[in-house]
C-alpha cells in the first residue's frame, strides 16, 4: 500500500537518505531499525512532508504523497507520532484529541458564527469519539488534565490517541517505547497489536529489540542513509551485515 521509490535527501555533503526504496504491504507491522544517525527519522520526516525530499517518489494507495504539502499528508491517510512526544502542552488531554479529526465544520470561523447548530452537533460527536479513543488508550481518567502534566509514556499514548481519531490507514511511530516505563510499554504494545488486527498498518522506528523481535514482521535495517536489508526478525538478527553496522566491522 505504501511504496517508496529511490528517495533521496541530502544535507550539504551528508546523504541522510540515500536512494531508499521499499514496499509496505497492507496490514503489517514493519520495524525500522539501524544505528543512530542511519537516517531513520529523516526518512520519516521525508515521508510526512516535514522535510522536502530531493528526489524519489512516495505513494500511498495510488496518491503521490511527495507532491502534497505537509498538512495534506494525514488527509491522504498517513499519520505519524514524534520521537520526543509533542502533545499541545497547555491544552487538556481531551482537547488534544478533539483537535485531530479531519474536516471539522467548526474549523471554519464563520461556521462558528452562522452555523452554530452544525458545529455543536459535530462537537458532540467528536467528543464522544474522543472519549472512546481515550478509553482505548487508558487515558480517559486524565481527560481534563493539561497534557504537560502527563508522564512520558502517557504522552506517547496521547499521541497515538490523537492520530487514531483521524482514522489513518497507516501510522508511523518514531520510537514508541523510548522513555516509557515497562508497565506502560506493555499497554502500548498491546494497543498497537490490537489496532493492527483492526486493519491499521504500522511502520515503527525502534531501538528496543525485544519489542521489534516480538511484534515486527518484516524488519528493515537502515545504515548510512541506505536500506541494508529486509527480512523477518530472525533473518535480520543473524545477518552478518547487520551485526557489522551495530558492532563495527569484524577485524
Amino acid at each position: 500500500m505504501l511504496s517508496v521509490r529511490d528517495l533521496h535527501k541530502r544535507f550539504g555533503e551528508l546523504r541522510a537518505v540515500d536512494g531508499v526504496s521499499f514496499e509496505l504491504a497492507k496490514g503489517g507491522i514493519t520495524g525500522l531499525i539501524g544505528p543512530n544517525g542511519a537516517g531513520k527519522t529523516t526518512l520519516f520526516n521525508t515521508l510526512c512532508g516535514t522535510i522536502q525530499a530531493d528526489g524519489g517518489e512516495v505513494e500511498l494507495d495510488g496518491t503521490r504523497l511527495d507532491r502534497l504539502p505537509a498538512h495534506r499528508i494525514l488527509h491522504a491517510g498517513l499519520a505519524r507520532t514524534f520521537q520526543i512526544p509533542r502533545p499541545f502542552p497547555e491544552m487538556t488531554v481531551l482537547e488534544n484529541v478533539m483537535i485531530a479529526p479531519l474536516n471539522q465544520p467548526g474549523e471554519t470561523f464563520w461556521n462558528a458564527w452562522f452555523r452554530r447548530g452544525t458545529v455543536a452537533s459535530a462537537e458532540r460527536r467528536i467528543r464522544e469519539r474522543a472519549m472512546e479513543v481515550l478509553e482505548f488508550t487508558t487515558l480517559a481518567h486524565l481527560a481534563g488534565e493539561p497534557a504537560r502534566s502527563l508522564s512520558g509514556g502517557q504522552k506517547k499514548l496521547l499521541e497515538l490517541a490523537r492520530v487514531l481519531i483521524a482514522e489513518p490507514k497507516i501510522i508511523l511511530l518514531d520510537e514508541p517505547a523510548a522513555g516509557v516505563n515497562p508497565a506502560l510499554m506493555e499497554v502500548l504494545v498491546d494497543k498497537i497489536v490490537s489496532l493492527n488486527r483492526q486493519g491499521i498498518t504500522f511502520l515503527l522506528i525502534e531501538h528496543n529489540m525485544d519489542l521489534v523481535m516480538s511484534v515486527c514482521d518484516p524488519v528493515m535495517v537502515m545504515a548510512q542513509g541506505a536500506m541494508l536489508c529486509v527480512g523477518d526478525a530472525e533473518t535480520v538478527r543473524n545477518d552478518p551485515r547487520v551485526l557489522a553496522v551495530y558492532l563495527g566491522e569484524a577485524p
Binding site: H71, F82, F88, A112, E123, R124, R127, G144
Partner: protein
C-alpha cells in the same frame, strides 16, 4: 462634579477603544502566538480610512466623502483587513521575532506615509473638523461623552461576544494548537498558514475598528497619534490583563490606560514647567516597568487563560 463625570466617561471611552484593539492582539498573540509589533499601524489605517470616508470635502485633498458614521466604521474594517491581508501574505512565513521586526517596520512606514502623503492625510497638520456622530443632538460635552461611552460599551460587548464564539470553537482550538506546537498541528492535517492568516487579518481589523472609534471620539486625526508607544501600551494591556483571555484584555486596557492618564495628570500638576518634557518620558518608563514586572511576577496576567479552549470540550469540574 459634572466635569469629573465628563472626564471619567472620556477616560473610559478611550480605555474601551484600546480594549478592542487589545482583543485583536489577543487573537494574534494570546491564541495563535503571532508576534505583531505593528499594532499601531493598523490602528492608524483604520483611523485614516474612517476620517477619509466620513470627513468633509476639502478641495485640495483626495477623499472627504461625508458618508455616515457606520459607513466610516465599515471602511475602517475593510481597509485595515486589506492591509493586513497584504502584510500577512508577505510575512506569515516568518516566525516570532522576525515577524515582530517586520511588523514593527511596517507600522513605522505607515506612520511616515500618514505624515508625508499630504494630498490624502494633510500631513503633519492632520485632518481636523471631522464631525462626531450625533454631536449636534447634545447641548453639552457631557451629553456627547456619555452617549459615546454608551456606544463603546455596546461595541465592546458586541466584539467580545463575537470573538468568544469563534475563539472557543474548534477554530480557536486550532489557533491554540498552532501557538503550542506548529509542527504537530501540521502533522494533524491543519493548514497552519490559513489559520495564521485568518487570525492576523481578523485581529488587525479590530485594531482598525478601534482606530476608527478613536478618531470618532475626538473628531480629528494626526499622524503624531500613531507612534510606536501605542503598540507598547496595547501590548502591556494584554500582558497585564492576561494573554489568552479577552476579559483580561479589557481589564488590562482599563488599568494600563488608568496608569497612563493618572501619571500624565500627576506630571502636569506636580512638576515645574521646565521639567514636564522630561517627566513625560517617565510615563513611557512606567509602561515598560509594568510590562517587565508582570512578566516577572505574574506571567499569566491578572486573569489567566482557561485550560480548556473550546466550549465543546468543557468538563464539569473546570
Amino acid at each position: 462634579m459634572m466635569g469629573y463625570v465628563s472626564y471619567l466617561s472620556f477616560f473610559l471611552t478611550l480605555a474601551l477603544i484600546y480594549g478592542i484593539a487589545t482583543m485583536g492582539l489577543n487573537m494574534q498573540w494570546g491564541f495563535t502566538g503571532l508576534f505583531n509589533a505593528g499594532v499601531v499601524g493598523f490602528f492608524a489605517i483604520g483611523g485614516y480610512a474612517y476620517a477619509i470616508v466620513i470627513g468633509p470635502d476639502r478641495p485640495d485633498l483626495v477623499g472627504g466623502f461625508e458618508l455616515p458614521f457606520v459607513i466610516g466604521l465599515l471602511g475602517a474594517l475593510a481597509f485595515s483587513a486589506l492591509a493586513a491581508l497584504i502584510v500577512g501574505l508577505a510575512t506569515m512565513r516568518l516566525r516570532s521575532h522576525y515577524l515582530a521586526i517586520s511588523t514593527f517596520g511596517i507600522a513605522l512606514t505607515i506612520q511616515l506615509v500618514a505624515l508625508n502623503f499630504e494630498s490624502l492625510t494633510a500631513g503633519n497638520l492632520g485632518l481636523i473638523g471631522l464631525g462626531r456622530p450625533l454631536e449636534d443632538a447634545f447641548d453639552t460635552p457631557l451629553g456627547f461623552n456619555l452617549f459615546y461611552l454608551g456606544l463603546m460599551v455596546v461595541a465592546t460587548l458586541v466584539v467580545y461576544g463575537a470573538l468568544q464564539l469563534i475563539l472557543h470553537s474548534p477554530w480557536g482550538r486550532v489557533l491554540r494548537a498552532i501557538r503550542e506546537d506548529e509542527e504537530a498541528a501540521i502533522s494533524l492535517g491543519k493548514n497552519v498558514s490559513r489559520f495564521r492568516l485568518e487570525a492576523f487579518v481578523i485581529g488587525c481589523s479590530l485594531m482598525g475598528l478601534a482606530g476608527a472609534f478613536y478618531v470618532g471620539s475626538i473628531g480629528y486625526i494626526s499622524p503624531f497619534d500613531f507612534l510606536p508607544i501605542v503598540t507598547f501600551q496595547i501590548w502591556t494591556m494584554l500582558i497585564l490583563g492576561g494573554s489568552g483571555n479577552n476579559r483580561g484584555a479589557i481589564l488590562g486596557a482599563i488599568v494600563v490606560w488608568g496608569v497612563w492618564t493618572s501619571s500624565g495628570w500627576l506630571i502636569s500638576t506636580v512638576l515645574p514647567p521646565a521639567w514636564q518634557v522630561r517627566g513625560a518620558a517617565s510615563q513611557v518608563i512606567l509602561i515598560g516597568l509594568i510590562l517587565v514586572l508582570t512578566l516577572l511576577y505574574r506571567p499569566r496576567g491578572l486573569i489567566g487563560e482557561r485550560v480548556t479552549v473550546s466550549s465543546g470540550a468543557k468538563l464539569n469540574d473546570r
